[in-house]
Amino acid sequence: MNKHATIARQSEVGQEYEAFLFHEARLMDNHRLEEWLALWDRDCLYWVPCNAEEVDPNRQLSIIYDGYDQIRERVRRLSGKFAHAQQPKSRLIRVLSNIEIESADDGTITGHSTFVLGEVRLNRQVTWFGRNEHTLVRTEEGLRIRRKKVFVLNNDTPMPNMTFLI
């Protein structure tokens, strides 16, 4: 490929990646749990580290370290009537920015993004900040999440309920 074609291809991948992230953000903000679940590849990892951005998950605690079955269980639980910490549900708006592709080939795209998330629940507003790392894979159904890591900026401070989708 010549240089111009490479740049065009990169920007196409970038747009595709960005559109996917925006779509995921909208599903999470609106608690569209089943649709969000459908974005995940069966072979996946959803990881929210605790206390630092880099930890060894086998020796160190995480906030979330879910494979597909655990994500499905999370969605089941949050979809029911008894997840009290989400009764009422948090109202959410997240703003994604600083989207960068780290690597891309025919099958896989990995990139980074940052977010600001406003949460309102029971007369209280909480502002969350974080950095995402998404690895997406191309499947017959379209892009799917293979790996998602979320560094929540205050993950070493006393945290209130963060049971909504992050």
Partner: protein, 436 residues
């Protein structure tokens, strides 16, 4: 003269004494909401009784330190040059600034950067800057960082008391210490490591709401219980077969005295221990682990050690719980704010897969995005809100009084849903709060 009327003044003006606030069947909600009572708790409970500080494995090397609190007072737990774990107040002798500002680390000295006074890891003041401004021998005379009156440990669990007027720790813990063994001896070497990080959570409610309650599970955790129906052989569901929270079960609530309380799963779990051992053998690393346990303790004792899965479900009054795969510290922030710190525990001498599984089990139910503890915190916040309604200010704690018995070992015992545990905590609360 005409100060605004605060809830504290209302409590006083009503003439409520500590005796009036805690009865056998009920307690007054002012003990959860009243700022004046909260201040009294800090003074008479947190500043006077044995408080859990941390585990010695958190500071394995000389100079390793962690910052902790005794009630609201900042302390440093540090491994000194002599190998002992020191607990000292995190407050410079000069102008009172903290001498350690980051939560953990390794250091040779603690230096207060206000004016440069420097202390060693035993707390000794070793240098004041520009010392011509002080008489000779000033450092020696000043001594060092203040220390709690007593520091003792039980098998690596370090406790401190700001008051000298306490029983020896082992005696204070009583049967609670025997229960702590269920966590420690879940390791084939009898050693645990507490360095896997911490979930820090906060809720807008009183510290006593954390409690130890066998009655709430089917309601507060209904979303999780509902899921067990889907796969009764998986993880927690398998452990909770033959509903341990049914009053027909062999499970019990137990008041061990001095405010220490237990959800007692021992008999219940021993009834199906062989199945549980088979389950453990079926998981990655399981056969090696079981063999190591049997070799270390002999089959009979090993089965007892395994029965609780390292989870005694124990409350040690007032700030420690040993439950799930964690050690938990409750820090009172205000009458309506509490921090809960959850430290998952790693086992020594086991395959890595076992410890990795312990992390995953912990994360699924505990921490800010988990399926369990956020619902607890949510309900505590609802209780705190509701208690602002004071037309009838009483909290009912009478459940099981009609069937509570005193066991041969002197502990009070109720069915699993009985409020024997709450009454036990309240008895100690009242005892400590009544000592002027």
């Amino acid at each position: 003269m005409n100060k605004p009327t605060s809830p504290a003044q209302l409590a006083v003006s009503r003439g409520l004494s500590i005796d009036d606030l805690v009865e056998q069947r009920r307690v007054h909600s002012a003990i959860y909401t009243d700022p004046e009572i909260f201040e009294l708790e800090i003074e008479r409970i947190f500043n006077r009784t044995w408080m859990y500080i941390g585990h010695e494995s958190e500071v394995p090397r000389t100079g390793d330190f962690r910052l902790r609190k005794i009630g609201r007072q900042p302390v440093i737990m540090v491994r000194g040059k002599d190998g002992a774990v020191n607990v000292m107040m995190n407050r410079c002798l000069h102008r009172g600034a903290v001498v350690a500002e980051v939560e953990s680390g390794n250091t040779k000295f603690f230096r207060c950067w206000y004016h440069g006074w420097t202390y060693d890891t035993s707390g000794k003041l070793v240098q004041v800057t520009a010392d011509a401004g002080y008489e000779p021998g000033f450092c020696e005379k000043k001594g060092g960082l203040a220390r709690p009156a007593r520091v003792e440990d039980y098998r690596g669990f370090v406790f401190a008391s700001l008051s000298d007027d306490v029983l020896p720790l082992r005696e204070h813990l009583g049967q609670a210490a025997d229960l702590m063994n269920y966590l420690i001896d879940f390791s084939p070497t009898g050693k645990i490591t507490v360095n896997a990080g911490v979930n820090k959570t906060v809720y807008r409610g009183n510290w006593k709401l954390v409690g130890m309650d066998g009655y709430h599970v089917n309601y507060v955790h209904a979303s999780v219980v509902e899921g067990w129906a889907d796969d009764e052989n998986s993880g927690i569901a398998a452990m909770h077969k033959n509903d341990p929270f049914s009053d027909e079960a062999l499970t019990r609530t137990r008041d061990l005295g001095r405010g220490h309380v237990l959800l007692d799963f021992r008999e219940h779990r021993m009834a199906s221990i062989d199945k549980y051992v088979d389950f453990l053998r079926s998981i990655p690393g399981g056969p090696t682990y079981i063999d190591a346990m049997f070799a270390a303790y002999g089959e009979e004792q090993a089965k007892r050690n395994l029965s609780l899965a390292g989870d005694p479900h124990l409350g040690v009054f007032p700030n420690l719980q040993v439950l799930g795969n964690q050690i938990r510290i409750m820090n009172p922030v205000g009458p309506d704010e509490t921090e809960v710190l959850m430290f998952p525990v790693l086992l020594d001498g086991v395959p890595d897969e076992i410890n990795a599984l312990r992390m995953r089990q912990h994360e699924s139910f505990y921490g800010p995005s988990s399926s369990g503890s956020p619902d607890d915190a949510e309900i505590f916040e609802r209780a705190q809100m509701g208690m602002n309604a004071t037309v009838n200010p009483w909290i009912d704690m009478s459940r099981g009084l009609n069937r509570e018995i005193v066991d041969v070992d002197g502990t009070r015992v109720g069915r699993i849903s009985d409020e024997t545990t709450q009454r036990g905590q309240m008895r100690e609360w009242k005892r400590l709060m009544s000592m002027a």
